[in-house]
Symmetry: none
């Protein structure tokens, strides 16, 4: 024991804070914020309920399990990124492929950095460490990648790099995504050399990626 800043002696009931909107949404919001702060394992249902101001068991009214809650969060993340890509496509309609590709690259990194909580659960979890991730969600993730693949293919067609084996475009797309992912995850995981300016680094990474695709 030995003189420790004592915690409150009594286990007092959490003062049910007033909550706006429906509970399901409030839970998702709280969980999202906590998830990035704590990581999957350190996120506890207790924490979520405390943040929301409801009982722990109420969470189970909306989500069958902690895993299900996290899956819902991933789902939301993929949907958001999909929405962003759709916007992008609308904005860039008519522009040259290379310009659209650059826009997508920038947007991808920006999305990741602006939503680290989503990014981490979308892309940085070990897939075999989660309970069977619903197929449907995987399909949604892949759909996003395919959108990017379309632009890459256009670029390659434009620049005459279209040759090579049948899956050359797919390989290029995945290589591009990997590079972007490497960039985002390096920053999010806080592994970027402190001596480097973040914006300059992002700029460099984008140019690096574009060069890779167009080579």
């Amino acid at each position: 024991m030995t003189a420790v800043p004592t915690a409150p002696d009594v286990v007092s009931p959490t003062p049910r804070r007033e909550r706006e909107g429906d509970l399901r949404t409030a839970i998702l919001d709280a969980a999202r914020q906590l998830l990035v702060r704590e990581g999957y394992r350190d996120l506890s249902m207790r924490d979520v309920s405390r943040a929301v101001g409801c009982s722990v068991s109420s969470i189970y009214l909306y989500f069958a399990s902690k895993d299900a809650l996290v899956h819902a969060l991933m789902d939301e993340g993929f949907a958001r990124w999909h929405r962003r890509m759709t916007e992008l496509a609308a904005e860039g309609a008519g522009a040259p492929a290379a310009a659209r590709l650059e826009a997508v690259c920038r947007a991808y990194i920006a999305f990741g950095l602006a939503n680290p909580e989503f990014y981490e659960i979308m892309y940085m979890f070990h897939s075999d460490r989660m309970a069977r991730y619903p197929k449907e969600l995987f399909r949604r993730a892949r759909r996003n990648l395919d959108l990017m693949g379309g632009i890459v293919a256009e670029c390659r067609a434009t620049f005459g790099t279209g040759g090579g084996a049948g899956d050359a475009a797919a390989v290029a797309t995945t290589a591009l995504w990997s590079a972007l992912h490497g960039t985002v995850s390096t920053i999010i995981a806080d592994r970027l050399d402190r001596r480097l300016d973040r914006d300059r680094y992002v700029e460099g990474a984008v140019r690096f990626a574009l060069a890779g695709v167009l080579a």
Copy 2:
């Protein structure tokens, strides 16, 4: 996410007395395998002891804490990669910078794929989810990156891309590393599209990376 029921006994409990070699090594081996399968938070000292076939408290004979055990693992990983880079430097002495760069890129990916346990420990952990990683280890990690940076600088000098701001070379190096890291982590995290051939993808990623540096 709560140990999805995969093959449950890849690390089967060594039956107590049949353990060859010293316990410390056995612990490190078991911990390394478990760490990558379970992640930091899900790795438990009990799991390790079970896998090794010793008591929990025996682990504390060799490692002061769970953190210390993981740090030892990271340490070993960085040392291995450093050794590999040193070999590479010896082999490539006299060769043109571009060739040496390509060799390093291939070696990096190969190392990651051959030692996924180490790789994940070294590069895929959230640094802030772990106790302060000892400075000395950070230095060792940076030293490895700097070796890569030297070659990048040579390449840029050779190809006349040496201009730009003072940290242009550092940015390029980090961008390169991020791309390689993205490639390795995509495969390790099992997020590579199954329709893609892994070797072709790696080949593409290497070319992609080189193009980025030399552009």
Copy 3:
């Protein structure tokens, strides 16, 4: 010192469902008995849960920590003694100071012997072996002592022993309390010479104490 094999099941596990009344009270009851039998350090939450017939985690539903549980016990003890003193004051209203002092002395010893569990918790713990005892409780303990001090002062005034330094009354009160405490703790700790009759000893101690105050 490692649970010397006495009768092992004085606190026999209440068979789960037969527990009468609320769990919080049951926990306090069990803890009180165990605490005096085992001492603070040897009291374990597991022991308590076993004695109560509930799970360990259930205890944490009512008490935030082991310290909190012990504090609640102390609190209860001081409150009980305070109640007793208040009764005493009511009963003795109008009686001469010396008579009231004697009554308090007898009551103190009687309280200690009748509630050894409480007594030990209240007065025989090493305060620095416990987490900071909440100030409020300390105040309550002091308040009890001050009640005794009031009567001592009256006695001294009556008998003309009121001289001496400003804190003479406080010193006398504490000396009195120490003597009473020594008496109670000697018996409770089972250190009273077996050849002595307990009641005669208590009688002697009371006269001893009164003589000390009135001298």
Copy 4:
């Protein structure tokens, strides 16, 4: 984990500090100091061995168990106090009984305050909380009390208080000892009101005790 001041990563062998004299004594010395700092339960063989600079198992060469070690400490304590009383008897030879009684009272309190570690293990342990305390030791403790009893009897004879039942002297002696014990243990357990001066309190307690005996 979350950013904690990391303990050393490696379990380094304790640098076997040079030790003077024989190991048994060194162990006793270390244990005595630690015992009062930590209390019985928090005293660990590991701690002792570390303080002494020997291996844990070496302690078992000299003491069969942790209990045996503590018993040896108690033994030493009673012997010391016995020695002190013998000295006192020699010094006071020929002096009046009351003077010798006062000297013993003062010496008792002084001994307790000067050797809190001994005092606590001698008198403040719960006897049923220790493994069977060797009878021989109990006899030694009683012998000390009897020495005090002799002086009390002389006093009572001198002052004509010798009447009463056959065990009146024994009762008086125990009451006296209880009062002294109450005084010492109050101070040692750090329960003395901070507003009181310690020396004045001790003085008051001594006078209180003498008055009790002589009444």
